[in-house]
């Protein structure tokens, strides 16, 4: 997974081409850590068709708020610089993430 930070988010995600998955996580977020292996498995499966990225929101709080991320975990899909779909908290299950990814490949 491509690790994002507040310096490259704009370039990679907001100016990126095609569908981009962003895994918003944070320090101390246990549900986020539990999701990581599942998202890595999805990257193995779909990584050649969609770019998998991750942002540590703890180190990019203002950027996260600007993306209307105020609760974790969130896995979102961006297309042409716009967040087009996201799964938040309890809705953010490995099954639901895979269903969402399939829509954008």
């Amino acid at each position: 997974m491509l690790e994002l930070d507040r310096n490259n988010f704009e370039e990679v995600v907001l100016q990126g081409e095609g569908a981009i998955l962003v895994d918003f996580y944070g320090d101390g977020c246990v549900p986020c850590a539990a999701l990581t292996p599942h998202i890595e498995a999805l990257e193995e499966k779909y990584g050649d068709q969609i770019l998998f990225t991750a942002l540590n929101t703890t180190k990019a709080r203002r950027l996260s708020i600007s993306q209307r991320i105020l609760g974790l975990p969130v896995v979102a899909i961006y297309q042409n610089g716009e967040k087009v779909e996201e799964l938040v908290k309890d809705d953010c299950t490995p099954e639901a993430i895979e269903e969402m990814v399939k829509k954008y490949i």
Binding site: D27, V30, T57, V88
Partner: protein, 318 residues
């Protein structure tokens, strides 16, 4: 023929992990199924002050995640098989129990239900819309977003007050909204909260509405004595605030309702954790019990696993 386990444990919180530990040590052929992260509710708890032996230093109170990581390692040491899956259906009537997941059906002679509980919601308009956009049930997950912002905590029990104190690490001010005029939390926690100058209180109050434009920036609070409602709005410089909800839990028992006896959806057991169905046991927060703590969940798990071993050995089940 498909494999027949001695025991399937559903849920890897403190109850399920302890059941796994005791079952593993008893050499029961055991499968432990968990859909998310080990620990359940306690994994996202910032500090555990009251688990015996749980302090990891005089000034260091252990987090839920740290305690659970040790329990998980301990269970693995005794050779309990693990499965990461959501249980979608259970067949518990016959001698052979069948537990359905999207990875297949697993069979066993006994089942321990240790599915725990989930946070109770406020149940007001806007709550679903703003979950993850200002409304949270997990301070360790979301607290850091509110650095230098204002935060409200709904509830007055131990969890609410402890998490309010944790949130003062980030927020410039934390207001506890409680429907009564005194806290239900135990004295030691209350003392620390009253001594914390970042914590304020809004007594006799309940949240009846949550508002905002994409992000939570307002809420309607009702006075439980006078019935009066008023709007609380975010400081214009902030444009947002956080509402963290800790008003108790509801049992994760949907799959078992109508199959085993329950009361208010909590599973009824005898003192050996046996439910109304032979070979089916329940442990921890999902069970009707006077106290729902890590220590009682662990005790339930130990009793349940030892009862499974006893019932298998004596031919009562299996």
């Amino acid at each position: 023929m498909e494999k027949l386990y001695d025991l399937i444990i559903i849920g890897a919180g403190p109850a399920g992990l302890t059941a796994g530990l005791y079952a593993g040590r008893s050499r029961l052929d055991t499968l432990l199924i968990e859909k998310g992260q080990d620990g359940g509710q306690i994994a996202i708890t910032s500090e555990i002050e009251n688990f015996p032996g749980g302090l990891s230093g005089p000034d260091k109170i252990e987090s839920g995640a740290e305690l659970i990581a040790r329990m998980t390692a301990q269970v693995a040491h005794f050779g309990v098989e693990r499965l990461s899956a959501n249980v979608t259906e259970v067949e518990l009537e016959g001698k052979v129990k069948r537990v359905h997941t999207r990875h297949g059906v697993y069979q066993s002679k006994a089942v321990i239900i240790a599915t725990g509980a989930h946070p109770r919601l406020i149940g007001c308009p806007g709550e679903a819309e703003f979950t993850g956009r200002g409304v949270s049930y997990c301070a360790t997950c979301d607290g850091s977003f509110f650095e230098d912002f204002e935060v409200f905590v709904v509830g007055g029990g131990d969890t609410a007050v402890e998490e309010a104190m944790y949130l003062t690490k980030f927020a410039r001010k934390v207001t506890i909204i409680h429907r009564r005029d005194e806290l239900r939390a135990v004295e030691s926690i209350r003392e620390r909260a009253f001594a914390n100058d970042k914590i304020e209180f809004m007594w006799n109050s309940v949240v009846v509405g949550l508002h905002g434009d994409g992000i939570l920036s307002g809420m309607t609070v009702k006075d439980t004595k006078t019935g009066e409602e008023r709007l609380v709005e975010a400081d214009p410089d902030d444009g947002m605030f956080g509402v963290f909800v800790f008003i108790g839990f509801l049992p994760n028992s949907e799959l078992f309702l109508g199959k085993v006896d329950t009361e208010w959806d909590y599973i009824l057991t005898d003192e050996s954790m046996r439910t109304s169905l032979p070979g089916v046991y329940a442990a921890g927060d999902v069970r009707k019990t006077p106290l729902r703590q890590v220590v009682t969940a662990c005790a339930d798990g130990a009793i349940a696993a030892m009862q499974v071993e006893h019932d298998l050995a004596s031919g009562v089940i299996g």
